[in-house]
């Protein structure tokens, strides 16, 4: 996990790469949920904007690692990694923060 954040262009095993993406997405979901809740963002667009941000951030991160996506199963596999759990975590923090701040 630490390596995922600090070591650019290290060599990656497939499992390590997928684990790093999984945890990075969780790290992104938590503060985003809090920010969305505090800012009072509402509606489907707020959720879709997070999903889009997560996709772009993941793409940007593994591009900075200088890897060949095909070695790791392609964009589809990398983008699907941790998508459900991270979105659920985002929804959870967003709903809790929104309820806490607004009500």
């Amino acid at each position: 996990m630490q390596g995922a954040v600090t070591n650019l262009r290290q060599t990656w095993e497939k499992e390590e790469m997928l684990d790093a993406i999984y945890w990075l997405r969780h790290l992104l979901a938590l503060p985003c949920g809090i920010v969305w809740g505090v800012a009072g963002l509402t509606g489907a667009y707020a959720l879709l904007s997070f999903v889009a941000l997560m996709g772009v951030a993941t793409l940007a991160w593994y591009r900075t690692q200088g890897i060949d996506e095909e070695d790791f199963g392609g964009h589809q596999v990398l983008q699907a990694e941790g998508l459900g759990p991270a979105t659920a975590l985002f929804l959870l923090t967003w709903i809790i923060t929104y309820s806490f701040v607004r009500f």
Partner: protein
Amino acid sequence: MVYSLDCLTIVAVCVIASFVSEGVLYFWIYRSASFRSLKDQLERTAKKLDVLKQQSVAVGKQKAKEKRVEKLESSIKREAAKELSIVRFKQAIVMFAFGIGLYNLMSRWYVAPVAKLPFVPFSFVANLSHRLLPGEDMTDCSMAFIYALCQAGLRPAVTKWLDLGLSRKMVAMQEFQPPTYDK
């Protein structure tokens, strides 16, 4: 402030339950000698398979390599399918017992809205998010929805972080596809 404490309590209970269920699985399955030897054996074979796949061979020997890889993969699949399906069955029993037990218990405690949704859910989500709640305000959130989000978002993270059970490689072994080679 009206809702938040209920939400946090549900989240805390779910996180604790995730740790407890992983503990139960550890004492029931993961610490047994048979599981550990199966894990070692499958990981060794998977490494051997990775090495074999990465070996470059002469053009004429490509067919022989394919056959060796296929043979090794089918032997892994045979070993993995039987043993791992038992492990996964036991995992499913524990998760089901904890999931249903906890849900039944908490649905007795939380009969009022526990949070306010920042969006109006689609009808199929509303069935869960407004479950057993009075009134027509679809942004009222029931315990069931928060619980489902905990199960979907927090439980996998706890399982992954503890890393006691099946590794990603072991799960993948049950789903081996026939190899494809560039011509």
